[in-house]
């Protein structure tokens, strides 16, 4: 068994695919350094990430698959699910073998895996677009913390840039320790020196003075727009799973 170690980036994974073809590996697995399980029999090689190699793989794929399918591969990659690298490789091998767009071959396991996973990631993207709650800071930056199930920040960037073009904002993924910041001109990925202990409480200390009154208004609105005679918590929780409540203003307890 040949193990290819890549750097965890999408480009890196594409380069691993390149190497599979370059060196004609038959029995191969792709993983990052901290996922590797050294076995006595296997051989391990480091993949060198090189934009040109990555581009060649993309170009090759685009001969056969649509832009939508390409996007699905990327989304599947962002799922960070265990074993997705190898599934994606299988998908690519299937494309190059058949020389056609197999994205909708739902009875094939790799095509189905990619379709299902891309959908899950897409749903998470959509949820983040819905559940981000900005808090206005003293220096007029709208700031939100998130902990999405999948690595969706790169996917939501465009939505927020298009929508909030006239305010500075920052969305920070606490789990993955990076964020996107928009300064009225451009968006960039940033890392904050963030105390892991810091919480909603510390953030409250730097808020704009109208922030908490607006949060309270929103909470009040959320409660009074509810029709008690129709109460249905099961449905409520299905739409707003508990794990998202932590950062939802309207689900914070009254103290």
């Amino acid at each position: 068994m040949q193990t290819l170690i890549y750097d965890g980036s999408f480009e890196g994974w594409l380069c691993a695919v390149f190497d599979v073809y370059e060196y004609k590996y038959a029995n191969v697995t792709i993983c990052t350094d901290n996922q590797r399980q050294d076995s006595l029999w296997g051989e391990t090689r480091l993949v060198y990430t090189d934009k040109q190699k990555a581009d060649r793989v993309v170009k090759g794929l685009k001969q056969y698959i649509s832009a939508v399918a390409m996007q699905q591969l990327y989304k599947t990659f962002l799922s960070e699910q265990k074993g997705m690298e190898d599934m994606l490789l299988e998908y690519v091998q299937y494309v190059f073998r058949e020389k056609k767009d197999i994205a909708k071959d739902y009875s094939h396991h790799a095509a189905r895996y990619v379709d299902d996973t891309a959908h899950k990631v897409h749903r998470e993207k959509h949820r983040m677009e819905a559940f981000v709650r900005f808090q206005k800071t003293g220096d007029d930056i709208y700031f939100a913390l998130v902990e999405p199930d999948f690595n969706v920040l790169p996917l939501i960037l465009k939505h927020f840039r298009d929508r909030y073009a006239d305010q500075k904002w920052l969305i920070y993924d606490k789990k993955r320790k990076y964020g996107i910041y928009y300064d009225l001109h451009k968006t960039e990925f940033i890392q904050l020196d963030f105390d892991t202990q810091s919480s909603n409480k510390d953030i409250a200390a730097i808020l704009n003075e109208s922030e908490l009154p607006y949060q309270q208004l929103w909470k009040d609105y959320f409660n009074s727009t509810n029709i008690k005679a129709r109460k249905n918590m099961k449905l409520h929780i299905r739409h707003m799973p508990l794990r998202y409540w932590k950062y939802l203003v309207e689900k914070q307890p009254e103290i």
Binding site: K136, R163, A205, W218, S224, N232, L248
Partner: protein, 454 residues
């Protein structure tokens, strides 16, 4: 003189939690006047969102507004639900009344003149500020503004339009705006409303004219139909012109919608669905909403307080509505004068299939897409998947299961590339029993608290 006021005092006044104070939140320049202002807004928002919540529409879809000139907002074509209330409904828009003062006395409405409740009214600026500030925090997709009628229809409508205009022109706001047109408002005002709003709606309220007469004696069906017709013509014109001239100013690009209250009067589902069908076909409505009557009055023309909200019925109506809009069913396939009520225990698609067993089983590998969509348990997206996937190889049970098709329903209506198939000359009643005892109706789970056992 404006006096600074202590954060602790503020917290005592109840609108901001102690939590904030403990965590060092600074009310740097807060003065007593600011506090009174927040308190006033809080009170108004409570009253005026409470009164608006019975309008069930919260859709923010169909908007196509782009963010221009680095302004604020856009409207995503598919709409976003930013939260869900504890009753499981989508919260997408700030849904409020401008005021709950009303000169009319519609029996089914909390704001009716004779109801002894607290009244309030927002100023134009207050609504604008709330909308902008909620929007900037990503709480909402936009505003859904409606109102009780104060003074007269035009006076009220003028203010609604003014709010939309301010948002668009002064705040460069491109989020979603849904305005409720006040019955009887003049065409000029409706026209202006259409220029700023994404969607306009006039609620028909009751499925039939008699129902309306009974419960809303001040209202006149003609006053609702006339503006609907007017909007229909304007929207059509806009659609035709936008093809020719790119610069045509938008007119209610997300179309018009309406709402009917069900269960307040004696109308049958047949009457409700035929009325809805008429709106879709003749008025090009984007949506018709059905609002199960929530008892709020002791008026003896209405179901008593404590009567359960007809939620299953409402749900079946929505299902039937979807079949009309997305599954190309004709209304007379779903309901007939012989059976003027939808089945409550099974959904209208299954019910249709059981009445038409002769066209089943369908071969999943051959049947045309429109027929596949008619199979119980198979929705539009599953149908599309099947049609795409069968091009690669013939599908069998195993494939279908892995593709996530709800076989527990569909299996009685299809054959596929497997030797064993389910159809064994079952009677409709038997199939219904099999499906019901599996207890896998997605609605059964969701509504279990309300449903007595069948």
């Amino acid at each position: 003189m404006r006096q600074p006021i202590d954060a602790y005092v503020l917290s005592k006044c109840g609108y901001v939690s102690l939590f904030a104070v403990r965590s060092g939140y600074r009310f740097r320049n807060f003065v007593r006047e600011d506090f009174t202002m927040w308190e006033r807004i809080t009170e108004k928002l409570k009253i005026l969102s409470d009164a608006a919540k019975y309008d069930v529409s919260c859709a923010s879809s169909g908007g196509k507004r782009k963010n221009e000139n680095k302004g604020l907002g856009n409207s995503a074509n598919s709409g976003i639900c930013h939260a869900y209330t504890e009753d499981g409904r989508c919260v997408s828009l700030l849904k409020i009344l401008l005021t709950n003062f009303c000169i009319f006395d519609c029996a089914y409405c909390v704001s009716r003149k004779s109801n002894d409740i607290k009244r309030a009214a927002f100023t134009v600026q207050e609504v604008v500020d709330l909308t902008i500030n909620f929007y900037r925090r990503n709480y909402i997709e936009g505003l859904f503004l409606s109102s009780g009628i104060f003074t007269n229809a035009d006076y009220t409508m003028e203010r609604l339009v003014l709010i939309a205009k301010k948002l668009r022109t002064e705040h460069n706001f491109h989020g979603y705006i849904h305005l409720k047109a006040i019955p009887g408002a003049s065409p000029e005002l409706l026209r202006e409303a259409g220029l700023y709003a994404d969607r306009l709606s006039i609620n028909i309220e009751m499925p039939t004219e008699q129902g309306l007469k009974l419960l809303a004696p001040d209202k006149n069906r003609e006053d609702m139909i006339r503006p609907m017709n007017y909007l229909k013509t304007e929207i059509q014109q806009y659609k035709e012109e936008i093809v020719k001239f790119k610069k045509t100013p938008a007119f209610a690009p997300a179309g018009q919608s309406t709402q009917m209250v069900v269960g307040a009067t004696q109308e049958t589902d047949l009457q409700v669905l035929y009325t809805a069908n008429h709106f879709y076909k003749k008025m090009q409505m984007k949506r018709v909403y059905y609002s199960g009557y929530v008892p709020i009055s002791t008026d003896n023309r209405l179901p008593a307080i404590g009567t359960p909200v007809p939620m299953i019925r409402e749900n079946r109506l929505y299902q039937a509505d979807w079949l009309l809009r997305f599954y190309s069913f004709n209304v007379n396939e779903l309901i007939s004068p012989e059976q003027p009520l939808l089945d409550l225990d099974i959904d209208p698609k299954l019910s249709w299939a059981l009445r038409n067993l002769s066209i089943f089983p369908l071969d999943i590998n051959k049947a045309e897409l429109p027929l596949i969509k008619r199979i119980p348990g198979i929705g539009v997206s599953s149908a599309l998947k099947i049609v795409a996937a069968r091009k690669f190889r013939k599908l069998n049970w195993e494939h279908l299961k892995k593709m996530g098709i709800a076989l527990n329903r569909a299996r009685y209506f299809i054959t596929c590339n497997s030797p064993d198939f389910e159809i064994k000359d079952y009677q409709p009643q038997q199939i219904k029993q099999f499906i019901l005892t599996k207890g896998n109706s997605k609605y059964e789970n969701t509504f279990s608290q309300q449903i007595p056992l069948f």
